[in-house]
């Protein structure tokens, strides 16, 4: 198996506060890896540090054997890593279609003919999320929470990434929508997309993952296959403090 993403001893934080105290993890090609852990454990910070939204202070991040640790976010997208951020963060004043097209910004011509070139990728996203096709002319801010989440995932997929980071796609969604999102993630996994998923519902995370990391206070407390994690009391402790 080739390794799609490898993080080694990564440290990062904000101003005076180091949040990640040296995190290492490994994602093989085609794998779905989930990160679980309490709030404030550093999962989102880890995602941000990998995708270049936050500059790490030490350590290494390798995307398909290429060091990307010191790169900026736009460079990292170009190298094939997409990050669907926590809280969806769609471009509210822009239309659904514009949001999606911007997802493919790095590989489209920026002045003329970009729509034509994007039509195939766009079609694939609309196939995955028919709701978005119905609403392609609406501004993204008028969508419901679940639709915004679909848009955010679709937008990240538009860049045709080799690795996709998904940060809490189920946050704040109604249970029905959570199911839709989880189904989508399953579908993407079948298509062979390498993914790192942050998920607050541990049970959900365990049920779809190939491999799980438990993050606690900025370090990896535990890792293993879902079946191994299930057996481990430490997970329950991390969540319920038993």
């Amino acid at each position: 198996m080739t390794i799609a993403l490898q993080v080694e001893d990564l440290k990062a934080g904000y101003a005076r506060a180091e949040v990640l105290h040296g995190i290492s993890l490994k994602v093989e090609e085609g794998q779905l890896v989930t990160l679980i852990g309490a709030n404030g454990a550093g999962k989102t910070t880890l995602m941000r540090a990998i995708s270049g939204m936050l500059r790490p202070t030490a350590g290494s991040v390798r995307l398909a054997n290429r060091e990307i640790c010191a790169e900026t976010a736009p460079r990292i997208v170009r190298l094939g890593l997409a990050h669907c951020p926590e809280g969806r963060r769609v471009f509210a004043p822009l239309t659904v279609e514009d949001n999606l097209l911007l997802g493919a910004y790095r590989r489209l011509p920026s002045i003329f003919g970009y729509k034509k070139k994007a039509s195939q990728a766009l079609g694939k996203i609309y196939e995955l999320f028919p709701r978005l096709k119905e609403r392609h002319k609406q501004t993204a801010g008028t969508l419901s929470g679940g639709e915004q989440q679909m848009l955010a995932i679709g937008r990240a997929l538009m860049s045709e990434p080799t690795v996709l980071l998904l940060d809490e796609p189920s946050m704040g969604l109604a249970p029905v929508m959570v199911d839709v999102v989880v189904d989508t993630i399953r579908k993407l996994r079948q298509e062979g997309i390498t993914m790192v998923l942050v998920e607050q519902f541990a049970q959900t995370a365990l049920s779809i993952a190939d491999y799980v990391y438990v993050v606690e206070r900025g370090t990896i407390a535990l890792e293993g296959k879902p079946s191994e994690i299930r057996e481990n009391r430490a997970v329950v402790e991390a969540y319920l403090g038993a």
């Binding site: 709030n39 809490e168 541990a202």
Partner: protein
Amino acid sequence: MSIIKMSRSTASLLSELAVLVILAALPLFLGQSGYGMGLLTLLAIYAIALIGLDATVGYLGQVNLGHAGMIAAGAYVAGLIVDNTTIGLFPALFAAGLTGLTLGALLAFPALRLEGPQFALATLSFGSLSVLCLNELESITHGAQGLSINRPPLPGGIPLTASGFYWITLSLLGLVWFASRQLLEGRWGLAIAALRNSPIATDSLGIGAMKHKILAFAFGSALGGFAGGLYAFNLGFLQPQAFGYDLSVTLLLGTVLGGRKSVWGALVGAVLVVLLPNLLSNKPVFLSIAGFGAVLAVVHFAQAIRQNKITFDNVAPLLAMSLLLSIGYFAGNLEEWRKGLFALMLFAVVVSLPDGLVGFIAHQLVHWLRLASPALFIPTPLDQVLPVRQKQGMAMLEATDIRLYFGGVKAVDGVTLSLQHGEVLALIGPNGSGKSSLINVISGLYRPTGGEVSLKGVRISGKGLLAASRQGISRTFQNLQIFADLTAIENVAIAMKDAYRLPWLWVAAGLAKKEDRKAMQDAQSLLVVVGLQDKSNIPARDLTYSDQRFMEIARALAVKPAVLILDEPAAGMSKPDVERLKVIIGAIKERGISIILIEHHLDIVAELADRVIVLDGGKSIAAGSPADVRRDPKVIEAYLGASAAHLVEASA
């Protein structure tokens, strides 16, 4: 190795006196020629104006392009009064200051709601409006033709010479200097800096910073008007166009060049603004000054090369200085280039010395002379600062059927809770379950869609942060809201309830030192509670993350709350710090303060909470002792997702 054993405040007081004495003695050496005296007087006047401008530019941190308008208003009021009545010099000056104060207060209400470019534009248009009015109200001001003013004699008819007027101006500068130090470097300055760092925290601590903001702007404008009055009597002739955009910009740049948040900066800025045009007529002197600046820039750049950190802020000053030197060398008439040379110097200073010349020099002096930093305050006994609250019969806090809807989203959907005296109540629940929204309602940040919150029987919901804080609710924030520019002890002292009672005139007259000291000692006592007593003089921004959280707790205690809300206090803390936090929460509980604790780590909750309420989807799904709640299947489902109950059974 301390060469001079002297505290920073003593050192600055001595040097201030020295400068005033030297300035006062200048006429004796330089002769009392009209031109020289006029220039020196102008220098003192500009210093007063710049101290006033510094109130907005330095302390409020806003770009003020309307100060010339205040000066114009003061100048015309003083001039017209003296020309048309028999009122003397001092009442006319007083009226000039009062004009500035009034205009400043009027302008403050709309302008201070604005920030950044909008504030700059509002003040810019005020400046233009005043020039326009002065030009057009010809029947009073004589418009563009100008207004001649005869300098009135002193009381008793004693004629006022040029040097006499200079000495008067200088004494007034001394007074203004003293008063603004008292006001702006004391509690006002702290409150305003706090407001800049976090408006939410200032309100939730009951500091009432808007009042300080308006006062600071009005005070600065009053000094502008006052300086205007002096200007009128110094020059004896007023024309509206002298007070246009150019003067505002010149003053603004003088403040920035000299150094913000500093009376010394105002003086240095005034010297530069007044002397620069005269300096330009002497090419060799100008070239040597420019050369000195260029050498500094080269040194700065060389250091950057050595550290391999070549960035814009060390390349740009070098370019600006080289340009300055070459224009100085090649230009035929330097005065033609006055604006350009001024701009280049300013550019270099703004980019490389954000604290201005004085800030830079002061920093170096403190470093070289190793001036002692202030001693730690002796803490007041804790029982005096935070007396143990006696038990009362009724519930401390009662929240009934709280609902908070954002459009269609029901963030909180009918939660009821009550909090007893000295009780620790934990709120837990997954992300987005409504915990933060609920405490934002309780602390007064949000007005609930429905329901009511009352504290000791008094309704507080829907009345805002400030009201809730006055009633005795205090909180910390999940995303830290520290006053980064203040030291740890200042963070706490500025929030101290009932500490600052004296009116501002007393403060300006320097009669409030005792009150200030008391607040600091009380604050030190609260820092002892959270274990930061040795770090009290460290700027909050330089504290570690955990210490910043502890400082926020001490600051919340300064409000002397009945109910303390701690929003995820352990987030991001290391294990030892979490242990320290537990001890602190225990100590607070012992003072009879009720605590609402939002926390994700259930081990902390288990150890500290008397009762737990579990929220999910905006509703309370379980309540009871920590042990009960942990076994509740609904809670397990909410945290782990459906059908996870076997996990807990397996581990139990």
